[in-house]
């Protein structure tokens, strides 16, 4: 990981560009300085809460260079979905320095007393925090939330779970994302961390939905691709028979990714969609986006 100093500098540049008000910038500079120099935690705690009085929840506007730069500072770090307020809170957090135990105690207190948006800021900044091994259980516990905003902060566009979650917890995170109908394409390392257990769980979940007469989220089929077997082929046949174009596209895209003869046979007769897949017009991201738009 790049040094804290570089990350702080980077975030600071983003504030200046994102039209935060002059007085808010001045407040943040002062509070960051006080957070760094104060021996009492309450200086930091208060500033962390009160940031909402100075920064709005407007999405950051980032250039592609800035997005690249973020990834260079911390591998796969993404802040394109962040807002100004959480960026300010993260900036303060990076100025809070303590020995390991004191740091963990204080940050635990923040997690446990945080409001909706404070928790969002904390979980989204996990990849920037020191002591990832000690924070792992906190992150896993965070996934037990039913608050979409907080779950998203951990699960989506965040390199932490992909890097640190053990398989069982990883599978729970993906399954819960499906359950909560979150956009799977925004989960980092989704393809790399597919595994046979997860593919089975996903298929079982689809069967439960079917049994209840409900639709199955099309992105789910991405999970079975590397492990294609008889049961999944039967599932995908059913998906291809759907009336919903998006589901058919997802079924075909899954089959397209499989290296199996049956899959190739099933693709026949769907030339138009297969062409679109070949031209990169139908991707998992496109399917995920279309699904979320349809849902909203």
């Amino acid at each position: 990981m790049a040094s804290d100093i570089e990350m702080k500098r980077f975030l600071w540049k983003i504030f200046e560009k994102n039209r935060a008000e002059e007085k808010s910038i001045a407040w943040l500079r002062l509070k960051a300085e006080q957070t760094k120099n104060s021996s009492s935690n309450s200086t930091f705690f208060l500033a962390f809460s009160q940031a909402s009085r100075f920064f709005k929840k407007d999405n950051l506007e980032l250039s592609s260079e800035e997005k690249d730069q973020a990834k260079m500072l911390v591998p796969e770090f993404e802040l394109s979905h962040w807002d100004l307020l959480q960026t300010a809170r993260t900036y303060l957090l990076l100025h809070f320095q303590r020995a390991k135990d004191q740091w963990l105690d204080a940050v635990s207190q923040l997690f446990e007393t945080g409001d909706l948006y404070e928790q969002q800021a904390l979980y989204a900044s996990l990849p920037l925090m020191p002591f990832p091994e000690e924070l792992l259980s906190r992150a896993i516990d965070g996934c037990r939330t039913n608050m979409t905003l907080i779950f998203d902060a951990i699960a989506l566009n965040n390199p932490f779970p992909g890097k640190y979650f053990p398989e069982a917890n990883w599978n729970q995170l993906v399954l819960k994302s499906i359950f909560m109908q979150r956009p799977l394409y925004r989960i980092q390392k989704l393809d790399e961390r597919r595994n046979p257990a997860l593919a089975d769980i996903a298929s079982d979940f689809a069967h439960e939905r079917w049994a209840a007469g409900r639709d199955v989220m099309p992105e789910l089929w991405r999970l079975v691709v590397p492990f294609i077997k008889e049961k999944f082929v039967a599932d995908l046949k059913k998906v291809l028979a759907s009336n919903a174009q998006l589901e058919v596209e997802a079924g075909l895209l899954a089959l397209y990714g499989c290296e199996s003869e049956i899959a190739k046979q099933l693709l026949q007769g769907h030339n138009e969609v297969v062409m679109a897949i070949e031209y990169g017009e139908i991707t998992w991201e496109k399917i995920g986006r279309d699904f979320q738009e349809k849902r909203a």
């Binding site: 809460s49 207190q109 446990e112 909706l116 404070e118 359950f179 956009p183 738009e293």
Partner: protein
Amino acid sequence: MYIDPHIHLVSRTTDDYEAMRKAGIVATIEPAFWLGQPRTEVGSFKDYFSTLVGWERFRASQFGIVHYCTMGLNSKEANNVALAEQVMELLPLFAGKEGVVAIGEIGYDDQTEAEDKFYRLQLELAKDVNLPVLIHTPHRDKKKGTTRSMDVAEEHQVDPGWVIVDHNNEETVKEVLDRGFWAAFTIYPHTKMGSERMVEIVKQYGPERIIVNSAADWGISDPLAVPKTAHLMRKMGIPEEYVRLTTYQNALTVFGLSGQMDENDWLKAPSIDQTKKLGGNSVLRGGQVPRVEGPADQVEN
């Protein structure tokens, strides 16, 4: 559009939330209170306060209702002094949070020495963090308790224009208004006020600094008390502007002093999920249709 500026939503069902939304309630304030039985550990308070700024706020948003709260140590539990002292240490952590619109509900229950001590400490806290104060007036010996609550607030130099005195009745309202405080009325089916009595009070005193709420909680109470009272006021010929002031604007004005409550919070609510298309950021003042989260945010469980 209505605001219910006193309702304990942690005790209410999703049916209530749906009915409230349908009846036109756009925003609610949940004062920190007791839970029907005394807590015995400070951790219970911590988790309760966290719920008020976390889960309950999220739950309300699923029904298109903006949720605010007040933070405080209630008078009943102030009587467990050892615990109360620990709660006082906790309060500054929560008082500054987003959407905390007052210190409350605080004041007297049995009017004991301990209640008095923690009421005073919290008046000072309110001044420190620049928040209005929501006063709970006692059920028993109400008139004297109400007068005493105001005397002590004045003694601590809290501006009456920043103080809402709650649970008024015909006996207390005149003094509260005369002394420049805000007078809130709780419409309860069996105790406190009924809607009919409320109409008479607005007829007599007009709409200035008068606020209607439901204080609906875990007891027999009605989460639709505010819209129902508004309807009755209209039926009884109370001017529309009076209805608007007592069931919407006055609450917004006084709790808005916190800087934490703004009409735009419901008129142009930000989408929780930024990827979602919910019709852009247009200001919907013309039709006054609030833009809020829809059923797509409802969590299955």
